[in-house]
Amino acid sequence: MRQAPYLVSRLGNYRLFWRTRAAVALVRFKAARWVFRTRYVGEQAVGTALAIRSLLSGTLFATALALGTLLAFHFVERSLPGLVSALGIEHTSFGKVATRPVSRSTYDALLGAVAGVTGVFLALYFTAVSAVAAAVYTTVPHDIRALIVRDRLGNAYVRGVAFAAALSVLLLAADAVGVGPYRTALPVIAALAGFSIFAFIRLGQYAFYLADPTLLADTLAGDFVRWLRRATRHGFRWNDANFQEHYRRRGRQAAESLVSLIEISSKREHLRGESLRRLLQKALVSVAIALGRHNEIPTKSRWFGERYEHKQWFLTSSSELQLANQTDSPLQPTTVPDVRWVEDHLLGAFNDALGAVIAGGGLEEAYGTTTALGTLFDAFGAVWSVDDGIEWTEKIAETLLAPSFAGQPTLRRPAIVPALADIAASLPATVEVAFFRVVSEIDVDHLGDRLRRQRWTADGAPYRFNLPRRAVESLEKVRDGLAFERAAGADVVTPGWYARELAFQATAWVHQEQLGAFLEFAERWYPSVADRLSEVQRHDAAGAVLSQGLHLSWKLARHLPVFEAFAERLAADPVLEDLPRPQWHWPATRQRVEQFRLEIIRRMARSIPLLLERPPSPDLPDYFGEAVHRTGEACVEALFENQPDVFDEVFPAYFLGVLATVDRLRPQVLEWSSLETAATWMVEPLLDLVALSGYAIILSEFHHEQRLWEACRQLWESYLGNDGGQERLQFIATAVAHSKHLFAISPRQILRTSWEMRLGALLETLPRGRPRHEFDEGPREHPSALIRRIAPSHGMPFMFFHPDEVFVARYLMTLETAAGLDFGLRPDQVERLQNLDDDQGEEEQ
């Protein structure tokens, strides 16, 4: 309530002032309520008009046709006497009928018939509705039943028909007292009768749909969103606590009805399937809309409802302390907004319904209902509610994966289990991407300028920046502070830079908390869920979780620079240097993401033997192949980054995976028409392994870390030294030789080339020694002769020796069992790789 503050504050000690103030407030509230009601009635009228238009559009053609027919009759009737006389048939029976004037009794009978028919239609309509209500709605709460009564289409029809009946009755009454008949009334009555008849057909069809109460969800979701919108800064008297409370009550009513509907639908078999899926999606979309509007609602709005929080005696402001002291009363608890009631209500109901469906064995049905989850989790990230997104991910994932965790068999479609795991594991990535998007879209400097220039006393000013709730809270404080300054007539006006500082500080804290919470969640959740699924032999589902986890780690690694830049911009050029701001440790954060990736890779590597037994199926993603491929990439990464422990841990699984992959590919390519193509595809994984082993030799020399090669060598020794080693080596020699003689780029050659380019770039960084002659570029300086030999030279950016050749020449060909085997390498290549005499090597090159 705006008053002259000084005068008011001076009068605050008088009883009369408070009574007058209360009276004025009541009058103002009543006036506002009247305005609101008027507007509300207007909105309802618009809604009804739209429904009538909808009915008319469906019946327009038929009604127009009826009217056209009527007009045709009218014109024919006018020209009929002339026509009849011209034809000379006025004395025939047809001529007599055609020229006879409308009798009063016929007119009355027509009106009576219309009134009767429309009355019957009304009765039929209500009978149909009652029948549906009796059959379907007897066990539903009253608020759901009331939805039928509120059905706009039915209401519009009832009004139209009732009007026709009433008009007919009135015309009859008028005729009875000698007024009329009105010739002009006939077409109107006829049109109304036409409308009633044709609309009844449409409504009759619609009445069947009423048997499915889930269709009423549209009305409920629409109601909820409308009440929500009113509570935002765009609504009527959105800043008035009384109206906020009213909006909350009505919004909550709609939400609770929706929840009731969900509960009913999830329990009734006939409402499952498409109906339930549509209903749940409505609920999810409603929550997503609510989240999107969240930061447009005042943080202390009554829309959120209230819950109590108790104060501490030694952290309470002096005024309240004085009051408590003066009256020897306890401290009054603070009421804080219950900001999550919408999520708790609707998502809670969604999750319960999902659980009921899954418990009933409807996994496919559950999968169908999850398609709208993306929209919801995107909203979580977009409104800086990553922590809420995390919380709901855990809850929903527990529900989706409950049968899997319990080890229940899936007899019908086994593919549905990994599909559900995939959906659950993709939710965090959706949140993260949305969070990344909102952060990356903020131009911090521009935002700072806007915050500086903003007129904070303007209506809804704190809610215009799509900032996190805590920042909005800070901006509200600035707004309130300015209002206080104005009221106090102070010579101090809080400047715009202060608003910027507070908003940036709050945003920075939220940014750190959200990112930290997300990282902590990812580190914990993905490995633990994958482990739990593996424990119950759900290796495919675990593979789905790991696959999503790895993809998330990739996203995080690429998004971190943007998050870092954002944090730096927020902290740049502070005026209030002593304002507590979050401290970032980006190298540690990057390390965490890398560790997260490694944790996923380790589990993928461990899953290779477990997935080995499962034959490839087009119904399922190739989790085995992915695990082998990713583990191979992780081996390369470990070699380049000199991580012998990681390499030692994952390489054996990769080794095993490659051999198993070759065995899995063999029967699949057996029937290919081109033997060469079949052989090329089949040995590709083996060539990856050979090349990777070459990298182990090279990079162990480069990093002076023999453990890298040792881990690799031991496996090869074991593989080739056992029974059948001779045949295995023969197969490898054939595969390598085949690749060397191939005049085409093999399928995975580009991938291996990218490894080589990376190695070339690494070796290029080595310094060069003194040139030995005028055109010499000088030898690479490295203690290892092998490195000096293979490093790019002669100004070329690539290497003249490939890592697979290094492995073949320096290891495989040195084995006793390799005697006489052709690996496809030229003798001079072998010689130069085996004999690492520097001078000779350089000269020859």
Binding site: S9, G12, T327, F484, Y498, V575, L576
Partner: protein
């Protein structure tokens, strides 16, 4: 510079204690009114013995040791010895502003003291108790309240204008009468709860429409409006519903008011010295001036400095 305390040769004004509160209500001193009067002298002068502000000094210009002794005796407004000009002036300012914070002004009688050999003719300032003093033509009349009248029953004492030094608030901060009115209003508007609100001590207010939060907010607004030209009362800290910027800027405003008073008292002291025919002047350095604080406020408003720097540069 230790000296023996000497009584003035002749005192014209009457010294007396204030009346008991039940017989004659004095100035209301509760709530924000009390906080204001209590806070105003605090931090006006540097804390003696502290080395925090090494730039601070008070000296005579030109320096004169004998005059310093004389000045210390002049400013002994209470029964306490001061040592050196810095100590004397600091004590005088603190004690005087403690009184002026309540009443807005103070009267001193300039009394002579019997000189000793080879000494400048000593003079002492004798403060008049709070009570009505009326100026008429070239004389002041001290009206004696009933409880303080002596056996002779005199209702007033005539004091020649030449023997009175009248020290009041700087004009920029209002007249003494206006100041006292402000204190009364501050006390009135800052009552935690109006008497009618909880007559039976219940938890819920018993007057329809009364709302504690609104009352409290209106009370805060009223206090800020009343102290607008002074700055926020330091004891109130950050008023609820205001920004930290407002708190700091208004704190600076209060420091500015203190600087204004400090400078004003110094100017009045120097004017007194001139009136007494003393050629030296008191010079005070190392304390923030109103102009410096204005400049700091301007820089703060433009966002060139933060709160810490702003408060540091204006620290006494």
């Amino acid at each position: 510079m230790s000296r023996r305390r000497r009584d003035p040769t002749q005192r014209l004004s009457r010294a007396y204690f204030p009346p008991p509160p039940d017989r004659e209500p004095g100035l209301p001193a509760e709530g924000s009114g009390f906080f204001f009067a209590r806070d105003l002298p605090l931090g006006l002068m540097p804390f003696r013995g502290s080395n925090e502000n090494s730039a601070f000094s008070i000296s005579l210009d030109p320096p004169d040791t004998a005059r310093e002794v004389w000045l210390a005796e002049l400013l002994e407004v209470r029964d306490r010895y001061s040592y050196g000009v810095e100590d004397a002036v600091t004590s005088f300012v603190e004690e005087t502003i403690g009184f002026i914070a309540y009443f807005g002004e103070r009267y001193f009688e300039i009394a002579s003291v019997e000189p000793e050999a080879d000494e400048l003719p000593p003079v002492r300032l004798l403060p008049l108790p709070w009570g009505p003093v009326v100026q008429l033509v070239r004389s002041y009349y001290q009206l004696i309240p009933r409880h303080a009248r002596s056996e002779d029953g005199k209702r007033m004492v005539r004091l020649p204008a030449s023997r009175i030094w009248h020290l009041r608030l700087p004009r920029e901060l209002g007249s003494p009468r206006r100041h006292r009115r402000m204190l009364r209003r501050l006390s009135r508007v800052s009552r935690p709860v109006p008497d009618f609100a909880f007559p039976t001590g219940g938890l819920a207010p018993e007057v329809r429409g009364y709302d504690f939060t609104t009352y409290h907010r209106l009370s805060d607004i009223a206090v800020e409006r009343l102290t607008n030209r002074w700055g926020t009362i330091p004891s109130l800290n950050q008023v609820e519903g205001t920004t930290e910027y407002f708190f700091v800027a208004r704190r600076l405003r209060f420091l500015r008011s203190q600087a204004l008073i400090r400078g004003h008292i110094l100017r009045e002291l120097n004017a007194l010295l001139e009136r007494l025919g003393v050629p030296e002047r008191i010079v005070m350095t190392g304390l923030p001036t109103p102009q410096a604080i204005d400049e700091t406020l301007g820089r703060l408003e433009r966002g060139e400095i933060g709160f810490k720097e702003a408060l540091d540069t204006t620290r006494v």
